[in-house]
Symmetry: C2
Subunit: 287 residues, 2 copies
């Protein structure tokens, strides 16, 4: 396994343990960085309504956080804001934009123009705030001719040339999971140093390359977990007979399981075969 150095930088959002590349080089905690876009959005809305200033309290509710957190977040950026008054909206919009690097142009390539790729290409929030779709790429000849969001879909072979010519440093992967690592490698090789991955795959990248993952199915599963909690523990969902069992029981069960042989779905250890057991179509993906 693994190519170069198998470092998975900041893989996902909940990965608070972004020990690698702390970004705290000279400030701003990761958690704060993740909220800056939220503030920026709320501020932009205020700006459009020509609101000159906001208090931390107002802005906090608009952004969906509490005011103490917001103030601390802003304190990392410096002391913008006037006591007794609040924050100057325009000024703050500019400061946050600058801190996030949105005052400059970020050409982006999207690889894998399926359903999701299409959606992203058309995404408005994409084009605004400094992001510019430099190219849409796909490996499928059937797709290559077409166009999405006014842009032509070009062939993967052009990747290197495009990245070099337009100085693309951010790549978006919306391919099927099987192709993701391969595409990732090519992007990195071509010079891309930040990747937004929508494929349900763990990407391996060399040091210095950032990967963020967006996984639709994971979010749903987390919701399901909480939903189940809400439904209460009483139904116990049965089958829980040997869960958290003393030990000997578990060991015995383990033996049984092993004895049952391990070819493919060997039935879920005991009762509750649940729904259809599904063929586990893990390898699909919108793209």
């Amino acid at each position: 396994m693994a190519i170069g150095r198998p470092t998975q930088s900041s893989s996902q959002t909940p990965d608070a343990g972004a020990a690698r590349r702390p970004s705290r080089a000279r400030g701003i905690p990761e958690a704060t960085v993740a909220r800056l876009p939220l503030y920026l959005r709320a501020l932009t809305a205020l700006s459009e309504r020509s609101v000159p200033t906001v208090s931390s309290e107002e802005l906090a509710t608009a952004a969906g956080v509490n005011s103490a957190k917001l103030r601390k977040d802003f304190s990392y950026l410096g002391s913008y804001g006037t006591r007794g008054v609040g924050y100057d909206v325009e000024y703050l919009v500019y400061q946050i934009s600058r801190e996030l690097g949105l005052t400059q142009d970020w050409p982006v390539v999207i690889v894998g123009i399926g359903n999701l790729g299409h959606a992203l290409a058309n995404y408005g929030g994409f084009a605004s705030r400094g992001f510019r779709v430099a190219a849409l790429l796909d490996a499928d000849p059937a797709v290559v001719g077409s166009s999405a969001a006014g842009l032509p879909v070009r062939h993967m072979d052009e990747l290197e040339a495009i990245v070099a010519a337009q100085q693309v440093s951010i790549g978006v992967i919306t391919t099927p999971p099987g192709a993701a690592q391969q595409v990732c490698d090519r992007l990195v090789e071509a010079g891309v140093t930040s990747i937004l991955n929508f494929a349900p795959t763990v990407l391996t990248v060399p040091d210095g390359v950032d990967v963020r993952k967006v996984d639709l199915s994971i979010e749903l599963q987390i919701l399901a977990f909480h939903e189940q909690r809400k439904a209460g523990e009483e139904p116990t969902q049965d089958g829980g007979m040997l869960d958290r069992a003393p030990g000997p029981v578990r060991a015995a069960a383990a033996k049984l399981r092993r004895a049952a042989g391990g070819t493919a779905k060997a039935e879920p250890a005991k009762g509750k075969p649940g729904k259809g057991t599904e063929g586990e179509r893990s390898a699909v993906m919108p793209a």
Copy 2:
């Protein structure tokens, strides 16, 4: 603002401060829950290759985490795993599935069948693992007749009936931001208690309702931040003359800004007008 009780439960992934609804009612930290789907995916892959057991080390690399974390995560579920050997793949798949509530059927409605809605409807990882698309809904009469992923797109008016009839408890919002809160309210009113929101809006929901947000543009902005960091501080991106300034300087600048009047984009306080300043098309969205 706000309807019922303005509680924003667990808004987003980086929101480690899910103080509300700790889920820790009797165990399992939020961070662990967020990783379980990762483990499950890795395990499923192993299962398909008929691998009988894995060590924490192997599974950890496959899932992109470190082994200590993985072991601790599993320890919250109970003591599955055999010292000197590792974990029984099938058994673990079942246990995690059960813990996440994936052994039961989760009907889901998707509201807003634009590009993204389409992508989600076709998403394979959706249908697997217990999630079933109960209905696709849209308010636009032009879309209502059509079909996506083999399912007919039905009108919003049928929402309540569908949710009630199929006992839907999870809703996915892929509408334009303007409609999101309204749709959310209807979903909640109809009985949905978990919402996955793709619209760039802060949703307000009553207590007991979970909201998770997936925001494409935020992820990109975070990448841009890190990318800017990598590019080095030397270029200073100019305009930073009065950033982190002593104080008096700032105050003076604030006065100036305020004096300049606040009608719409009042120019970014000083130099670096940057790219086109964009009309800030914040209100678009794939859907």
